[in-house]
């Protein structure tokens, strides 16, 4: 086979590169003043065969495309750390302490509505899973924590979660005392007042 003219190869290369659509050899040839482009196409395809970009023919039209083994480079995931919202942390805590638990039960305990998206975030994080349905009227979905939850929070089992008594001792569970301590300025409840002050 004759080596195609180098200038023609370059012209074909540039034209296909700049083209917004794949081109047939006829279109290319017309664009390049009637030059016979097929040898140039073959030469280019051979040149690009081992590279990160390939020159390929699809249905009689030629175009450049990323080498198939590098297609994964076209999509990349980037992790972004993001803190859970308060609602999500509360829902997670309720699920952890009460599992398995339905959304209605979570809402009853939280005292406010819980958006569907809140539970989705917890499932996306991999900490909460659907644990079936409660066999009551309406058969609500029930939620439970996952092994990833235990792993993330450094717990061996759910029993490692501090109990109600410990929470109270830590001042995390006593709004009346907390309010009193805040009013009298005594030091007893400064930790508790923080949670007590939240609504």
């Amino acid at each position: 086979m004759n080596e195609p003219d180098d200038d023609l190869v370059r012209a074909v290369e540039a034209t296909l590169f700049a083209s917004e659509t794949p081109l047939t050899p006829e279109e290319l040839s017309r664009h390049l003043g009637g030059a016979p482009v097929k040898p140039a196409l073959a030469s280019l395809a051979a040149h690009y065969a081992g590279r990160g970009v390939h020159l390929v023919e699809r249905g009689g039209r030629w175009h450049f495309q990323t080498a198939p083994d590098l297609a994964h480079l076209l999509r990349r995931e980037r992790e972004e750390p993001r803190r859970l919202s308060r609602a999500a942390v509360e829902a997670l805590a309720i699920i952890a302490y009460h599992e398995p638990v339905s959304r209605a039960e979570i809402e009853a305990i939280r005292g406010v509505q819980t958006a569907k998206g809140t539970l989705d975030v917890l499932m996306e994080a991999g900490w909460v899973r659907i644990a079936g349905r409660r066999e009551v009227p309406g058969r609500p979905t029930i939620y439970a924590t996952t092994p990833a939850f235990l792993a993330h929070f450094g717990l061996t089992t759910r029993r490692d979660l501090p109990g109600i008594d410990e929470l109270r001792a830590a001042g995390l569970l006593d709004p009346v005392d907390a309010a009193y301590a805040a009013l009298t300025g005594s030091e007893a409840g400064s930790a508790a007042s923080e949670s007590g002050a939240e609504e």
Partner: protein, 279 residues
């Protein structure tokens, strides 16, 4: 591409520009009048001066400022004869140039600051700078330009970065949140914390007992039980004071005691009621 300024309609005699080939083709000047009508084509008097300087076809550093002044003034005069409306800045420049010319031609006043030579040199420097930038712009426009001469890939696949959230929370956040939820929604029971108080009954008993042994006016504070300050809650002492004061009022009401106070916030004194007298 009209940028809102006076649209550049092309300079007259544009082949004397050489590098200004990026301009729209100049309308061919057919006579004086056509030439002067092109006044709009200049971007101000400095631009006109630069054009006139270029027509001298010498390096801007060697330009004769006097010649340039003459040309500019001739130009403005001609335009006036043709009754063309001249923008004020052209006339201001003309006046300034006429003044400069007179200074350059008249005998020197050595005291004059700035000297006419300095003024002329500064004008020349300005023209050089404008000329340099005009040429630079032309050279820039004549480069191989992306989208005109060179092209990026016509149909890039595009690379996309999917952002994936990595949610973070600590165990303490979870526990604290649970405590918060429980606390928030627990049935509210108001419990007054037990605290040390000196009851009114105890105060009544103590004040009336001590009143019996007192011989004259005594400060109310002397009726209070003595607490060890180091070990006693100060609130207990305040409670005792309050209870004792109420007890004193009560005893006075019953006619068993007399109260006296010499001034506002002064010490409250009391003594046992003298028989037959009232408080």
């Amino acid at each position: 591409m009209n940028d809102g300024a006076a649209p550049p309609t092309g300079a007259p005699d544009s082949d004397s520009f050489g590098t200004d080939d990026w301009l729209p083709a100049a309308s061919a000047p057919t006579g004086d009048e056509a030439l002067y009508l092109e006044l709009d084509g200049w971007e101000g008097p400095l631009d006109l001066l630069l054009d006139l300087a270029r027509r001298q076809k010498v390096d801007l550093r060697r330009i004769s400022i006097l010649d340039l002044v003459d040309q500019y003034l001739a130009y403005i005069n001609r335009a006036s004869e043709l009754r063309l409306e001249l923008a004020a800045d052209y006339l201001v420049m003309a006046a300034w140039l006429a003044y400069l010319k007179s200074l350059l031609l008249l005998p020197r006043d050595p005291e004059m600051q700035p000297s006419p030579e300095e003024m002329a040199l500064r004008l020349q420097l300005r023209l050089q700078r404008l000329g340099a930038m005009r040429e630079a712009g032309a050279r820039l426009m004549a480069r191989d330009r992306l989208g005109r001469d060179v092209f990026m890939r016509g149909a890039p696949e595009g690379i996309s970065i999917d952002r994936k959230m990595r949610w973070t929370a600590g165990l303490f956040d979870v526990i604290q949140a649970y405590g918060g939820v429980k606390a928030r929604n627990a049935p509210v029971v108001h419990i007054v914390r037990e605290r040390p108080v000196f009851t009114l009954e105890a105060a009544l008993e103590r004040v009336s007992r001590l009143l019996g042994v007192a011989i004259d006016w005594m400060d109310l504070r002397l009726f209070l039980p003595q607490f060890d300050k180091a070990t006693t809650d100060p609130r207990l002492a305040r409670s005792a004071l309050a209870s004792s004061f109420v007890a004193a009022l009560e005893l006075a009401k019953q006619g068993k005691a007399e109260l006296a106070q010499d001034g506002v916030f002064g010490p409250v004194r009391l003594r046992a009621a003298r028989s037959g007298s009232n408080a």
